[in-house]
Amino acid sequence: MMNVVYFAWVRERIGLPQEQVDTNAATVADLVEELKSREDRYEAAFADISALRVALDQELADFDASLVGVNEVAFFPPMTGG
């Protein structure tokens, strides 16, 4: 089971801040495809991957990164702190 968390408008489009996902996806991109095939709200959130960022176990990563050994995947738009 993978802990998947969402922030900002990704969270709003998907409709929840986090969920446990039963997945064997090898990479982040694979996980995104799995989620998109599930329901329209995921399709809406992940429509434009270039507008998104991903963190694996709280460190920024790429969409082609492996999920082996990862406990938490986070999806969010580019950060706007400061």
Binding site: A8, Q58, M79, T80, G81, G82
Partner: protein, 146 residues
């Protein structure tokens, strides 16, 4: 080094006065305070979301990088989350060094990295509705300076 992520307001002046006190090797202290700006006069609230855990770790790494690179005597980052009203302080950064160029550059660097690498997201609630603040290409490009 001090990093605080909090919903409560903070007193920038009191923080500045406490910062790098009692050190005779500090000649220069630079502070930056980010304030909720209401350019169009219709902002009701700025909501700041963050990623607990990752936020603190990401900021600590950025502060550590700046401290090493510019040989800072001390560094401070405070960043708020939650609902903020126009005019309220959002965050502050302070740097202390022997000389002014190090203090200035390190504070500038910290701001550039906090802006694009610390997991915060801003949403503006105006009388016309609400919208997420979009990241600017200029902010991402600013990182290339360092």
């Amino acid at each position: 080094m001090t990093v605080r992520v909090q919903s409560e307001p903070f007193d920038a002046g009191a923080e500045l006065n406490r910062f790098a006190q009692g050190r005779n090797d500090v000649g220069a202290v630079v502070s930056f305070t980010g304030v909720v700006r209401d350019t169009d006069g219709n902002l009701q609230e700025m909501q700041i979301e963050h990623y607990p855990g990752m936020t603190e770790a990401a900021i600590a790494k950025i502060v550590q990088d700046a401290t090493t690179r510019w040989g800072l005597a001390d560094a401070l980052v405070i960043h708020r989350y939650g609902g903020l009203t126009p005019g309220a302080p959002i965050m502050m950064v302070a740097t202390a060094a022997a000389h002014r160029s190090a203090a200035f550059e390190a504070a500038d660097f910290l701001m550039d990295y906090l802006k694009s690498r610390a997991p915060f997201w801003k949403k503006e609630i105006t009388s016309d509705g609400e919208s997420w603040v979009a990241a600017k290409d200029a902010d991402e490009n600013a990182l290339k300076r360092w």
